[in-house]
Subunit: 248 residues, 2 copies
């Protein structure tokens, strides 16, 4: 039986990961190791200066196992091999279903996509799923047919070494075609709100919104989502710029 | 006068950033915004659920300014624009000098390189410097001639949008040639040590070491470092895999 390791960044209590476990259960032995609390925006952050703890939780899906871990999503993937997996290497790492989009530059900041990239560094085919809704009780059902297409394919054929997949699904659509895209160029416009604490000190909190830097392009993930399609981007672990000069 | 924003992940007290500020001072107005404590391994993690504070510290270099921030390296870059820079956009973001290598896959986990990538998302030419020594009192002097070559060039010519630079310098060499390289394929072999706390609970701490997955290649950053050269890798913000299929 294939071994599927699941993680996320919204924490083990999130609806998204629980729905994902149910969708994956028909395809193998499902073991989820998720942060013990929300760890969104943790990117590939890891913990090397503090103890990590893992605890078995009541799994919502019969035949699967669910653990919480006190670390980041990357920690969850890293430590699973040495603890709950007892040295077994997963056949697949699946992260999500994220509550909120990880399209475009969000892949850089996302803890869910951090877990996916960590799986990729281990040479394991790795994929992340996100829904473009932050609703804690969002309807994830449109993702099931996409899982049913992609997961058997990945388990059978794998992925090239160093390639991982980022799937984003628009919320509010029932029947969602999949578009293979490239990552859209975009940036976050940060708008920090300034506050004064009760003792006169200043502090800031992050607001902000994503700005599409190429709104005319029709081959990007943001465009696909705007058309009610799921976006699928093959992403590279290797950061070397393929168009970079070879000398300085 | 050119505006140079500096950050790091070892915190504002680290020798590496203080030496870097002195090296950069001849080239423009230097403003450093660094974490208020060590934030290594924070990747592009950001803080959106907690207040951020910024405090001016005594700068070690006349004519420059130094601030500590309660967030991650990415937070430091993001918030600087809205606080200490008063809406001025830097001409250059420089991060480091990191105490320890950020070559190969370390670029994924490094908070210092997270700050560089954040600068790149803002469309600012951005570069990170690292020395392959974790010694808090390491000798950074071999990096000065490299800074003197690269910084005037970057200030004059910039970088293509979406490209950033990762420079690593081997410790213990006096005269260090620069090799333009690609990122070496490598992975971390994690070796968690298991402990038992005073109450019988288990916890883990991360150890581990990096394994070079292509030790025969001579065009990689890890090879350059092994030869006593500084490695310079042009890296891409866009994660789309250039060799990926266009359909599934």
């Amino acid at each position: 039986m294939k071994l599927i390791l699941v993680s996320n960044d919204d924490g083990y209590m999130a609806k998204g990961v629980r729905e994902l476990m149910a969708m994956l259960a028909p395809y193998g032995e499902v073991i989820a190791v998720c942060p013990d609390k929300g760890r969104s925006g943790q990117s590939m952050a890891l913990t090397f200066d503090a103890p990590l703890r893992i605890k078995e939780e009541k799994s919502p899906v019969p035949g699967t196992k669910l653990y919480s871990c006190s670390g980041t999503p990357v920690d969850c993937v890293k430590i699973s091999y040495y603890s709950v997996l007892n040295g077994r290497k997963p056949d697949l790492v699946v992260a999500g279903i994220n509550h909120g989009s990880n399209a475009s530059v969000n892949v850089l900041y996302s803890g869910t996509m951090g877990a996916v990239q960590e799986g990729c560094t281990w040479g394991i085919p790795s994929i992340g799923f996100s829904l473009t809704s932050h609703d804690p009780d969002a309807d994830f059902s449109a993702i099931k047919p996409i899982v049913d297409v992609l997961i058997p394919e990945l388990l059978e054929r794998g992925l090239p070494q160093g390639t991982f997949i980022n799937v984003n699904v628009p919320a509010g659509f029932a029947d969602v075609p999949i578009s293979v895209c490239r990552e859209c160029k975009a940036h976050w416009s940060e708008e920090y709100k300034e506050y004064t604490d009760p003792f006169g000190g200043k502090f800031y909190m992050l607001a902000g919104h994503m700005v599409n830097d190429e709104p005319e392009s029709t081959d990007t993930d943001l465009y696909a989502l705007s058309q009610g399609h799921a976006s699928l981007v093959f992403e590279a672990l290797d950061r070397t710029d393929p168009s970079a000069p070879k000398v300085i």
